[in-house]
Amino acid sequence: MKKTENLGILNINSTLYKTRLSPKFLKRKLYMPADLKAIISFIPGTVLDILVKKGQFVRKGENLVILDSMKMQNGIKCSVDGTIRKINVNKGDKVSKGTILIELK
């Protein structure tokens, strides 16, 4: 019986259990609080237009990027007031969901 090979330790309520750990558990992403100054794509798509320039002051709710996806033009909005520190994409770029498009300071 090789059933007891490759065992790890799982802590449930301060008790340490000897057990196999699932790939899903081992690959889980550790939680990071959301960074409001990083403007990310909420949907994958193609960058159709960039409406702002580096150093520009932008207000909460303003459209920063137009992302073409699912046959729609989606405005990527600013979630806080701030100044554009860095633009990470160019017109025509294909971006996946969760890409940091623009960074504010």
Partner: protein, 514 residues
């Protein structure tokens, strides 16, 4: 002679249609490592039992030059036959005819056999091997899918519905299997997805192979869409036949009773489970120590392995087993294992199969990912399914049964009919370490030797609460039994509850936390 001539004519017509898409297309099918639709039906059903309907059905599409094309049987074979002498209705899409694409008549053939299966109250087996909607037939093709999904839904819980994915099954087509009871997939042959790799690449720029996106392994290990995984079509058909032996033909009968045989003695229940609740073991060995012939038919073997589900026989009668698996993730309940268990409990309840629950779990899996994935909602499915189930519910607490996990795993409080516990059972609000840390926090903190004090308090708690007798004293446990007595108690419980009647309150339907 005229009759002979007409018979001959029929024979010729049949012969031509039986070739499906023709020899070239069949060769192509074989080159992909696949069997033809007809071969599949023959392999699955009892010899000479298949009766085919609608062999001569033709499509009636007129646009895009379709009127000039003949598609034998419109790319799908329907009929009925038997498996181990039990009647089943079956359809198999024929990939050699227009890629098994689904047009109006193709779908009408499928819905015809579905209606037949439902009316006759017999299991329905669907073999899927299709490129998807027949684009030339436009909205008629979509209507066809809708008609199939509707029938899948209204038949659910009345007749067993089995889906076999033996080729592509993409786009809307995937929802038929998803609505059925059991989905069978074969390595390298089955492919299921809503949007394929090409669309994903064009729209999102992500590149992925069909196999990695929606192959048999993905659906068996990651998505939980498939219930049975096999390496070949042959093996797949054997699995289906085996499943058929365990389930009743509809919801108003019970599964066939087979001859009883004792479990294999090499599975000694006293020697499988270690006393130390932090040590693992394979709970399937406990099941094999209990069931007839030590024969356990596991379902969703590769998905959420921290819970084990499947069928076995007790004194010849089918029972559904739900067991925490300490070997995997300490047997915790989490999002995936809750979904897996809850659906199986509802399956058993719908088809008059008693449920035997073996409990050994430390509780729920902690973590941000679990909380954000909705472990509250998913975990609630287990409570809902057990509470709602009116089939005989028998629980054996093998070792740990802590906190919410104790309640969820078919406890007396959710109306288990019989609750037995082994002497190794620990029924408590949480494990001794966690409990001692909370209850004796002050004593531990203010002690000159906090570690020593903690150990002492953990021992105190263990002595007092880490046993089955506190719950037994309240009647929450009916009997504390020796492991070797388990089969005898279960056999009696199943026999005693054969005619169990529970009337639930009248309602249209409840609202399970989907």
């Amino acid at each position: 002679m005229a009759v002979n001539k007409k018979i001959h004519e029929l024979q010729e017509k049949r012969k031509k249609i039986l070739l499906g898409g023709g020899e070239q297309a069949i060769e192509k099918q074989k080159a992909m490592g696949k069997w033809t639709a007809r071969e599949r039906i023959m392999a699955l059903l009892d010899k000479n039992s298949f009766i085919e309907y609608d062999l001569f059905v033709e499509h009636d599409a007129r646009d895009f030059d379709m009127d000039k094309k003949s598609l034998p049987s419109d790319g799908v074979i329907i009929g009925s036959g038997t498996i181990y002498n039990a009647p089943v209705a079956i359809y198999a899409q024929d990939f050699t005819v227009a890629g098994g694409s689904l047009g109006q008549m193709h779908s009408r053939k499928i819905t015809k056999i579905m209606d037949y299966a439902l009316k006759m109250r017999m299991p329905l087996i669907g073999i899927n091997d299709s490129g998807g909607a027949r684009i030339q037939e436009g909205v008629n093709s979509l209507a066809g899918y809708g008609e199939i999904f509707f029938r899948n839904t209204i038949s659910s819980g009345i007749i067993p519905q089995i889906s076999v994915i033996l080729g592509p099954c993409a786009g809307g087509a995937v929802y038929s299997p998803a609505l059925t009871d059991f989905v069978f997939v074969v390595d390298k042959i089955s492919k299921m997805f809503i949007t394929g790799p090409e669309v994903i690449k064009t729209v999102l720029g992500e590149e992925i192979s069909m196999e990695d996106l929606g192959g048999a392994r993905v659906h068996s290990e990651i998505t939980g869409n498939a219930h049975f995984f096999s390496m070949s079509e042959d093996e797949c058909f054997e699995q289906i036949k085996r499943l058929i032996t365990f389930i009743p033909r509809n919801n108003s009968t019970k599964a066939k009773i087979l001859d009883l045989a004792e479990p294999d003695r090499k599975y000694d229940p006293e020697k499988i489970v270690p006393d130390d609740p932090t040590l693992p073991y394979d709970v399937r060995d406990v099941i094999k120590s209990i069931v007839d012939n030590s024969d356990f038919f596991e379902i969703m073997e590769l998905y959420a392995k921290n819970i084990v589900i499947g069928f076995g026989r007790m004194g010849g009668r089918t029972a559904g087993f739900v067991a925490n698996q300490p070997l995997e993730m300490a047997g915790v309940l989490d999002v995936d294992s809750s979904d897996k268990a809850a659906r199986f409990i509802r399956y058993c309840d719908a088809f008059n199969i008693p449920i035997i629950t073996l409990v050994d779990l430390p509780g729920y899996l902690p973590g941000v990912d679990q909380e954000h994935a909705g472990v509250i909602r998913h975990g609630a499915k287990v409570l809902y399914s057990y509470s709602e189930a009116t089939v005989p519910k028998i629980t054996v607490i093998l070792r740990k049964a802590y906190g919410g996990g104790y309640i969820a795993m078919s406890s007396r409080h959710l109306r288990a009919d019989f609750v037995f516990a082994w002497p190794t059972a620990e029924i408590a609000v949480m494990g001794p370490e966690g409990a001692a840390n909370i209850i004796f926090r002050k004593e531990i903190m203010s002690s000159d030797d906090p570690d020593g004090m903690r150990k002492q308090k953990v021992e105190e708690y263990k002595d007092k609460f880490a046993n089955p007798y506190v719950a037994a004293a309240r009647g929450y446990v009916d009997a504390v039994i020796e492991p070797k007595e388990t089969r005898r108690f279960l056999l009696h419980a199943i026999e005693a509850s054969e005619d169990k009647v529970v009337k639930m309150l009248d309602k249209k339907h409840g609202l399970p936390p989907f």
